[in-house]
Every structure is written in C-alpha cells, then in structure tokens.
C-alpha cells in the first residue's frame, strides 16, 4: 500500500501536507462516512482518487461513480435515509443536473446525515460558466459551508457532517477550484472506532418521505425549523469568526470592518498584513443561513463595513436587509462595478478594490505595466493518437468539400476541444448532453442546411439519451456522431456504463438499435474514408442518423499497456 494510503487511513492523529480534495477524504473517514457517490468533473475528481487509493478491504467508504450527478445524489440520499452518513460530490454545473432531486432533500429526514460537496468554479477555470451555487443552496433550503483553505476543508467538513447527522438534514459543502487544489500542512485528528452498522433503518410512518401537494407544507415547515437551528448554531460556530490581526484601533477615527468568506477572506488578511491597517474581519464559514444577531453586532461595532464577496451579490443583499430591519446606522460598502461580479478575488485585486474606499489603509498602487513580449497562446488540444482528432479531420474535409454551410453542434468532453483550431468543429456548446436537443431544434423547418452533432460515450449515458430519444421519435434531420473512446477521458479516465469496468458493458450500438435508430453505422475513427462515407450517407439520409466513430483513448491505452508491462516484469523477476 502506498504511503499516501497508509496516512489516509491511519487511526491516530497526525500532521501532514494535503490538497483540499484529499483533506476532504480524511475528514470523511474521521466522520464515519459510509457511502459516497459522484460524477467526475473538475475540480473534484481527486476526491475519488484519494478514496480509491485505499485498498478495498481497508476502505470503510462504499464509493461508486454514478451515471450522472442526479443519480449520484439519489444514491447518497437513499443511503442516508437508511441511516448511513453519505456524501455526494461533483462540479459546480453538476448541481444543475442534480437539482430536480436535490431541491426536495431538505424537507425529508436524512437520518444518517448527508453532505453535498460541490466544486464551484469562480474564474471559470474549467467550466462553461462561473455560476454561484450559493443561490442554489438557498433554493434547496440547505445550510452552506464555505471553506477557504485545505485545513478549513478538513475542519468544516467535520462540523458539517456532525450538524447534518444531528439535524438529519443535508448540508451543502461549497468548495471552490483553488480550495480543492491548494496544498498545506494540516493537523488531522484520530479516526474513531466506528461500528459501520449496515442495518437498513429506513422507516416511514406516513407521508414524511412523500412530498406531494398538501403533504409538502408540514415537511417544508420542518425544513424551516431545521434552518433556524442552523442559524442559532452559526452564532457559536468556530467557522464564523472575527479576526483582528493588527488590533482594532480606529483608522483615521473610523472603526473599519470587512465581512467576507472563503478565499477572499485570506486575500484581505494578506492585504492587511502588507498595509498593517487595523481592520476587523468577520469571516463567515457558514454563509447560509446568516445569524442576524452576529451580523448586527459586527455592523454596530464599526463605522464602515465592506462586504467582500466573490461572484454574485448574495451576502451584500442579505446583510443590507438585516441592517435595514435592525436600524443599523453603519455605512455598508459594496463592490461598485460589474467587473467585480466576475473572477476570483486574489490579494492584488482586493487591494485595488479596497484602495478605492479606504486609500489611507490601502494606498493605490500603480497598475503593472503590460509586458512588451508577445507570448504564443497554448490552447488545450487533443492528444497525439486521439481518435477524435482523426474523426474531426475527416469530417472537416467532408463538410468543406460537400456541405460547406452545415451546422455542427459540440458537447462536453475532450471532443469539445474540436471547436478550437485547427478543426473548428462544433460551434455551439451549452452543457453535458445538450447536443441532440439543440441539433433537433436547429433542424426544425430547415431543409437547407445539414445539422451534425457530437457526443462522447460517458455523456451519452449521463444526459445524452433523452435528446437522442427525441431525435429518434421525431426522426429529425440530424446526424449524430458518437465519439466513443471507452472512458471518461477529460476528467482523468473514470469508468462509465460502456467502458466495461463496472458490471457488464452496456453496448452503445445495441442501445441505439433498441431505441429504433434506423440509420446506424460504426467505424474506427482512423478509417477516415469509410467514416466520411458513413457520415455523407447519414447527412444525405432523410431523418435521424447515427455514426459511431470509435477509437480507444490513446492516453489511457498507452498507460494501461505500460502498467501491464511493468506488472509482467515484476512477476517475471519474482518467478526468477
């Protein structure tokens, strides 16, 4: 077993270096999590890697990849209402997929406890938007914890899991990209001797797990009551704290404060360390629900309070409302510009922002001059040997030669990179699985321009099937190219339904046949002439056609081959 795995499961307290995603797993082990389900998406896949590195016989957590985020959430919910502490994790936009399920959960008693971990992505480092899921926490009536560092990830998860078990309610644990991927030294506690009781304890007296029509209201009242218990908890929570590293003396006769959260809190502390200004910082770890008493007392102790938040104006609006209701006279300052509603708040940006309000504390700095040198961009690109490359090359040629006004629709996956140079295939993109639906819409009333859409094999199962079924039912004039590489490549080679690593492989051609796809062809992506013939035939065919362009992910293929060779070498040296 690796040293990393050894450390991860060691029973006693220890101190070690860990990234946020891995620290989360140690906290899961110390909290007694029994079930965890997920769908891969950056910035969270390393959570799974840290669980899976623990040998199965020593792993107390049952972990599995689900078909999509909604199923993952349901899996964790099912485990929780059976009495087992559960975790579900996925990336920011994964919560959109999970939402139809997730929005009910707070009304139901999650008796084992349940933590919904999301990797939000301020700065859109690896996502199609930078949506602020703190809105969604409010919609779901779920308390929100926001760690700003790996060590806070560890300590706040322990608190969140405990609270979730106590109140039998799901908790939203909102990490962000640079919390997930940051590394620091963390003091871990011991793993208690849990008995990991698998007794199925689900119990329903009446309609308490059946939120339909009038049954909703008593359940909703219960959710409100739980939220107000969290509101009380927030007052004494170690996650909500006032920091005054330079003392609390007034600056120029004014007592100044900042209310902030997550990474921006550390950014403001760094700025204060540089400037030496004495400002009090109320750092909120639990950002929903807010405790009005906590907010009002902080506001009243200061003449001016800046609300420094990353992304949308959520704390700003709620704190202003609390201040209004409580006749607070403190001057509340907020970010002035729409540019401040985007991107991350690194220290330099916080300094620049605060210097506009408190120039005595944060003297305006000259803008850094643009470097004179021009540096070539480096776009992400498909790997050497990638089957998608070959397919895009062939389709680009076909379209340029025979269908120059065709519309191509991209989907999410490695093949999204086909939209960039040099292929420029797939010029409209929304989200996982959108391509068939969008292509269907583009085909309505359109007998002039051909429509071609793409999908990968993991996405095929994740959210692709409903759109495909629609195109089959309406026999849309669309050509779907399934780019099958037998893995979830973009996020680091997680298995999926057709990869053959979980249970019996569900074969994509058989699924399509069973759905009634009449035009169906399949060819290796490197057989370019044949691929072009199939796609030409499909585009000329009236109605829905599917061409599967298959080729194993070469990155995975080569790694697997290398691993097999190393294993053989080891076995041979043992035999000798």
């Amino acid at each position: 077993m690796s040293k990393f795995a050894d450390n991860m499961i060691r029973k006693d307290a220890w101190t070690g270096l860990m990234m946020g995603n891995h620290a989360l797993v140690r906290a899961m082990l110390e909290s007694g999590v029994m079930v965890c389900s997920a769908y891969p998406g950056s910035p969270t896949p390393e959570i799974a890697a840290a669980i899976e590195i623990i040998p199965e016989e020593q792993r107390p957590i049952h972990f599995e990849w689900a078909t999509n985020e909604k199923v993952a959430t349901e899996t964790a919910f099912g485990a929780s209402i059976n009495g087992h502490l559960s975790v579900v994790f996925f990336k920011s936009v994964g919560l959109n997929v999970a939402l139809d399920t997730a929005v009910q959960l707070s009304m139901l008693d999650c008796i084992g406890g349940m933590v919904v971990v999301i990797g939000d992505d301020p700065g859109a480092n690896s996502s199609q938007n930078e949506q602020d899921n703190r809105h969604v926490g409010r919609l779901m009536m779920m308390p929100i914890f926001e760690p700003g560092s790996p060590s806070e990830t560890y300590s706040m998860f322990l608190e969140a899991a405990e609270l979730s078990k106590k109140l039998k309610m799901p908790v939203l644990f909102r990490m962000t990209t640079h919390v997930c991927h940051a590394r620091e030294l963390i003091e871990f506690g011991a793993i208690p001797d849990f008995d990991y009781d698998w007794t199925p304890r689900f119990h329903a007296e009446g309609l308490e797990y059946w939120p339909i029509t009038t049954a909703v209201f008593p359940l909703k009242r219960k959710a409100f009551a739980k939220l107000s218990a969290v509101e009380k908890h927030a007052l004494s929570s170690p996650s909500n704290k006032v920091l005054s590293p330079n003392g609390s003396e007034p600056e120029n006769g004014k007592r100044l404060g900042v209310i902030t959260h997550s990474i921006p809190a550390y950014s403001v502390l760094e700025c204060m360390d540089e400037s030496g200004s004495s400002i009090d910082v109320l750092k909120l770890g639990i950002t929903f629900p807010l405790n009005p008493e906590q907010i009002v007392s902080f506001l009243n102790e200061h003449d001016e309070v800046f609300i420094l938040e990353e992304l949308d104006r959520i704390l700003e609006h709620e704190i202003k409302a609390i201040a209004f209701d409580n006749h607070v006279k403190t001057k509340i300052l907020v970010r002035p510009d729409i540019e401040h509603l985007m991107h991350e708040f690194v220290p330099a940006r916080v300094w620049d922002l605060l210097s506009g309000f408190w120039p005595d504390c944060f003297a305006p700095k000259p803008q850094r001059a643009e470097a004179a040198e021009e540096v070539s961009p480096r776009l992400a690109q498909m790997c050497p040997g990638c089957g998608h490359r070959s397919a895009f090359f062939a389709i680009r040629e076909l379209i340029d030669e025979e269908f120059p006004d065709a519309i191509t629709v991209a989907d999410i996956g490695c093949h999204s990179l086909g939209s960039m140079k040099p292929y420029e295939m797939g010029t409209v993109l929304l989200c996982m699985g959108h391509s068939n639906g969008t292509a269907g819409g583009l085909a309505i009333g359109n007998d002039k321009r051909k429509v071609v859409c793409f999908i990968g094999d993991s996405t095929f199962f994740h959210a692709g099937l409903p759109g495909i079924i629609n195109n089959v039912l309406y026999d849309r004039n669309v050509t779907l190219v399934v780019l099958e590489n037998y893995t979830t490549a973009m996020t680091g080679h997680q298995p999926h339904a057709a990869s053959g690593e979980i249970g019996d492989k569900i074969k994509i051609p058989e699924v399509l046949e069973a759905l009634g796809v009449k035009f169906l062809r399949s060819v290796d992506a490197y057989m370019q002439d044949k691929l072009k013939d199939h796609i030409r035939d499909s585009m000329n065919h009236k109605g829905f056609g599917v061409v599967i362009a298959k080729h194993p992910c070469m990155l995975k293929f080569i790694r697997d081959k290398r691993k097999r060779a190393e294993a053989t070498k080891r076995a041979e040296s043992v035999n000798r």
Partner: protein, 196 residues
Amino acid sequence: MKSYNIFISGVGGQGIGLLAEVLIQSCLAAGYAVLGVDTHGLAQRGGIVVSHLRIGNKDKLFTPRITPGEADLIVGLERLEAYRGIVNYMRDGGTCIYYDAEQQPIHVRMGLSQYPSHEELEKAVAERHGKVERVFIEDLPDVRMQNTAVLGRIASFELVEGLTGDIIREQLLEISPSSAKDANLKVFEQASAARA
C-alpha cells in the same frame, strides 16, 4: 521573512505535480511553512499546467497564489512555458531554471505565432535583471525525467537558506516509486553537477 515565491510551469503530463510535491516537502523539511496550489483548468490535454509555491513564516502566509511580477523563481519544464512564466510572473532580479524542451502549441504549428528561442528567453530575463539556468541532458533516458533534471539543478543552489541539495535529494527519493529511484538519482546528480 517576506515569502519566497516559486512559480512552476509546463505542459500537461510533464510531471509538475511531482516536482511541486518534492519542493514542498523539502521546504517543510527545511523548517519553512509552505502554501501551494496547482492551476490547470482544461489543461490535462496538452494545455498549460502551473503550480504556485509560497515559502515563509506561517503567520505571514495567507494565500497560495503568486501575484504577477512577484515570483522569485520561475521553474519551467518547457521553453515557451518558462518564457510565459518570466514575462508574467518574474520579479525584478528573479531567477529562472528551465528544461530546454520544446513543445509547440497549435498556434505555432499553424504559423500564427512564434516559438521563443533560448536567446529571446535570456533577453526577457535580462530585461528583468534576472538570472537564467538552462537545463538540458543530452542522453536523458526518458523524457518523463525532465522534471528530475530540473530538480537536480535547483538542488545545486541553496535558493532559500537551509533548502539544501541533500534535503531535496532525500525528498525526491522518498517520493519516487522504488522502480525509478536509481534512474532518478542518476539524472538528479548529473543535472546538479552540470550547473554553469
């Protein structure tokens, strides 16, 4: 102390994670506090991978990301990314240690932009009054060992007081898989000895 900032950059697959891990563990072993963060976005597929390290006193480190123009050391595993690191992150008087490999991006292959030469890189460093160390090993047994070579060269300088070659060597051996220890050690020593 003011933090010492190391900006490490290369292309997906070059082993930046391992390089950063060895440096972080070495700094911890030398008695410093460290914060680190990797930023890679969509970069697993031939894109840019960057790792930020900040070294210093525990009560003076708050965030792991380096402010542009404030890196003391640029570590590059490839020439264009070393160049980008210098242009965007090197502080006045900083140091660059880079492996002279060349991985051309699409824009260069399509003739839309230029790939920098070693001379251009030196010029960019000179404009920032810095120093540059080019690492290149003629008979490197495996391209996946470029990161080890760069580590060896870093180890030949005591960039921060107490961050000695012995500490870095020890951490490299600690982290290397047992099958690669001997080969890594050899490249490490070779690159260390080849210091200009």
